[in-house]
């Protein structure tokens, strides 16, 4: 039998005030104001919010829904549909291993396994110190340099498991003292 989860028990409905009574942060409003009234802008808005905050905070999605008039359910449905959107804060470094065909044929999964083991996290998880989030990406389009790893916006080609860990180790070395 599968475990069945009762996520929200019936509780007395009691109006406690508008959860969004506080005005939205100014930098969020700056993004929202630029797209006010544009019915084709929702995904772009979410991309900008993510670019600014590195993920999509729930409250910000609510502000976006209220300010721009898109139903929150639609905003949430989109945030969970597309791969790029993250609803939880990622680590300082988002390590993405390409799993495109060329990378696959060139054993990118070995690199993924190696990093996963070394970092002690699975795919889509973040290390406890908040430094690294390990992810995969469908294809970066740099197939001739397969296998490819991307850290934030920097692409690394012709990787091997050891080489990829070497690069991460350097980041660890520069970051750890600050942690």
């Amino acid at each position: 039998m599968h475990r069945r989860v009762s996520a929200n028990p019936i509780r007395r409905f009691n109006y406690q005030g508008d959860p969004l009574a506080e005005p939205a942060p100014a930098d969020l409003m700056e993004i929202l104001d630029r797209y006010r009234g544009q019915r084709d802008a929702l995904i772009t808005v979410l991309e900008e919010i993510q670019a600014r905050y590195s993920f999509l905070p729930a409250k910000h999605l609510q502000y976006a829904s209220r300010e721009l008039g898109f139903p929150l359910a639609q905003v949430y449905g989109i945030s969970t549909f597309y791969n790029v959107f993250k609803l939880t804060a990622p680590g300082r470094y988002q390590v993405r291993v390409c799993k495109g065909t060329a990378c696959h044929v060139n054993r990118s999964s070995a690199m993924l396994d190696h990093l996963s083991e070394k970092l002690g996290i699975h795919e889509d998880e973040t290390t406890a110190d908040g430094l690294f989030t390990l992810q995969t990406v469908a294809c970066m389009g740099a197939c001739s340099l397969a296998p490819v790893m991307v850290i934030n916006d920097q692409t690394y080609g012709r990787m091997t498991p050891d080489l990829s860990w070497e690069i991460l180790s350097e980041l660890v070395a520069t970051e750890r003292p600050r942690v």
């Binding site: 084709d40 898109f70 989109i78």
Partner: protein, 540 residues
């Protein structure tokens, strides 16, 4: 004429370290005070030799690669003297332009849509104009739209997204719709793993795509064009933004373009990472700010697309072909190809092949030419086992069918498809069952979940393939798999589902013995599958 040093700095170049090469070249130039122009270009296509540096001196261009920062001094010393007698390794010298005779990777290609990729600075409108940019648009705007459409039809250009529908006919249908406004979409959501044609074209020559769209806008009567680009392609987005800004300054977007009465604006939409958005109805939902799930057709986008208005969707390569058709004439373009299909097709040639990268060949070219002559065979010196075309929607063509011509109909006959241009060569160290399983992992992951055959069917197909890869498969599983392939193929709502079985069907058709070996003998002939129950193989 002064000396020009060109360095490929598109995504592939950067991944290979092109930025440090640029720094090294600049440092060299500063140090030596030599009179040169250092230019960043897109990708010449020879990605396997990245970083690429080309030095043009007295009309002779010498292409070097791979050029690591350490090699910069050596290479440049060859041109500017000095270096104390150190010699450049001859293998770094790839070719000499204009004919590239000594470099089959480039010499055997026919570059139309990628002609300026790696040659011009993609951020420079002047470079594009100096190479005949926006001439085709000027010509087109002087023609009645019907004549433009006729030219495109005569060119026998067919949709380069892979479906192969006549581009001119599609334009004509959209033009004929009474409703307005009309929209134009350029599909640059290159989602196939192992494909980078669109990325290379946009990063290397963004104005060509815009010009193609502007001509289409004139022909169709569209007023707004969306460029739907993958968010994973930040450099392409940057190049496009820059190009759109330049186009506005130059006066080829906005109101009354070049006095023709055409009003047109570009909007860039960054795809948020969903393979299914390559399907046109899903793509439109995505632009509308919806979940990118496909809808049933009809109505086709040409009739009722974005927000219900007529919408013409073409991919990057189709649009990029347009300026050449207008400039050189439809007959020239048609003559490049076969009886049914005109022009050239670009492929992302990758995998086990020796020389990989972006290649463009006339339609009708045999596969063998790409694999053996351009690609130079397998880098492992092992025999080619198969060529996988069209990514997760496509199929495998076995080595014995390498003489198949690259053409929509010929490829379909093998069970594969033209696709958008992904071409992965594998040698005999690849397990075809695992390979099929890899693609199923992808499609299963990317299924939007709207229709059952795809949502659950691909999941079950993957489950059966995994069993087989674990040595737990039976002959019943193979039969079940075959039946399920048929259900998913005929029953799915959109192209993602209907083509998802292709990798399985083609590998079962050409490499049945490998499947049987997994099932009967419990062994993987290529030695890839671990065949241990309960352990995941590497695509998991």
């Amino acid at each position: 004429m002064s000396t020009v040093i060109r360095i490929g700095t598109s995504t592939c170049g950067q991944a290979a370290g092109a930025e440090s090469v640029v720094s090294a070249v600049n440092a060299y130039v500063d140090r030596r005070q030599v009179p040169v122009t250092v230019q960043r270009t897109g990708c010449l296509g020879a990605c396997h030799n990245e970083p690429l540096v080309e030095v043009t001196d007295n009309d002779v261009a010498v292409l070097y690669g791979p050029v690591s920062p350490e090699r910069v001094s050596l290479v440049l010393d060859r041109h500017f003297g000095g270096g104390g007698g150190r010699w450049v390794d001859p293998s770094w010298i790839l070719s000499r332009r204009p004919d590239h005779d000594d470099f089959p990777f480039l010499a055997r290609q026919t570059k139309v849509t990628t002609r300026l990729c790696g040659v011009i600075d993609p951020m420079s409108l002047d470079d594009y104009l100096a190479n005949g940019g926006y001439m085709a648009l000027r010509d087109a705007l002087r023609m009645p739209p019907e004549k433009v459409i006729a030219a495109v039809k005569d060119s026998r250009l067919r949709g380069r997204g892979g479906a192969g529908f006549s581009t001119g006919t599609k334009w004509e249908i959209t033009r004929r719709q009474p409703a307005s406004p009309k929209f134009l979409i350029c599909n640059a959501d290159e989602g196939d793993p192992g494909a980078f044609m669109n990325r290379t074209m946009i990063e290397g020559d963004p104005h060509r795509v815009l010009e193609g769209m502007l001509i289409a806008a004139w022909a169709i009567g569209a007023s707004k064009g969306y460029l739907y680009v993958r968010a994973e392609y930040p450099l392409a987005v940057k190049a496009l933004r820059n190009a759109i800004r330049q186009a506005a300054e130059y006066g080829v977007t906005g109101k009354n373009i070049l006095g023709s009465g055409l009003d047109f604006e570009f909007v860039i939409k960054e795809g948020a990472g969903a393979f299914v958005c390559g399907e046109e109805t899903a793509l439109m939902h995505s632009i509308e700010g919806q979940r990118g799930t496909p809808s049933m057709r009809p109505p086709y986008p040409s009739v009722a697309g974005l927000w219900g208005y007529p919408t013409n969707i073409n991919n990057v390569e189709s649009f990029a072909s347009i300026p050449s058709i207008l400039l050189h004439g439809p007959a020239w373009f048609a003559a490049l190809g076969t009886e049914q299909s005109g022009g050239t097709k670009a492929f992302a040639l990758t995998g086990a092949v020796r020389a990989s990268g972006l290649v463009e060949v006339p339609l009708g070219t045999p596969l063998r030419t790409l694999v053996e002559e351009i690609g130079g065979g397998c880098k492992s010196d092992r025999p080619v086992k198969a060529v996988q075309l069209g990514g997760p929607s496509g199929g495998c063509v076995p080595a014995e069918l390498l003489d198949t011509r690259i053409d929509y109909e010929d490829l379909r006959r093998t069970g594969a498809i033209m696709g958008s241009g992904g071409m992965v060569v594998v040698d005999d160290t690849t397990c075809m069952v695992d390979f099929a399983r890899y693609f199923l992992t992808f499609t299963q992951d990317e299924s939007c979940g709207k229709c059952v055959p795809c949502r659950v069917g691909t999941r079950k197909m993957l489950g059966i393939l995994t069993k087989i890869c674990h040595g737990q498969g039976t002959h019943q599983d193979l039969e079940r798999l075959t039946r399920l392939c048929e259900t998913v193929r005929t029953g799915s709502l959109c192209g993602l589902g209907t083509t998802a079985p292709n990798p399985v069907l083609t590998t079962m058709r050409y490499f049945e013995r490998e499947y049987v070996a997994h099932v009967d003998a419990g062994l993987c002939p290529a030695g890839i599958c671990s065949m241990r129950p309960g352990t995941s193989t590497r695509a998991a």
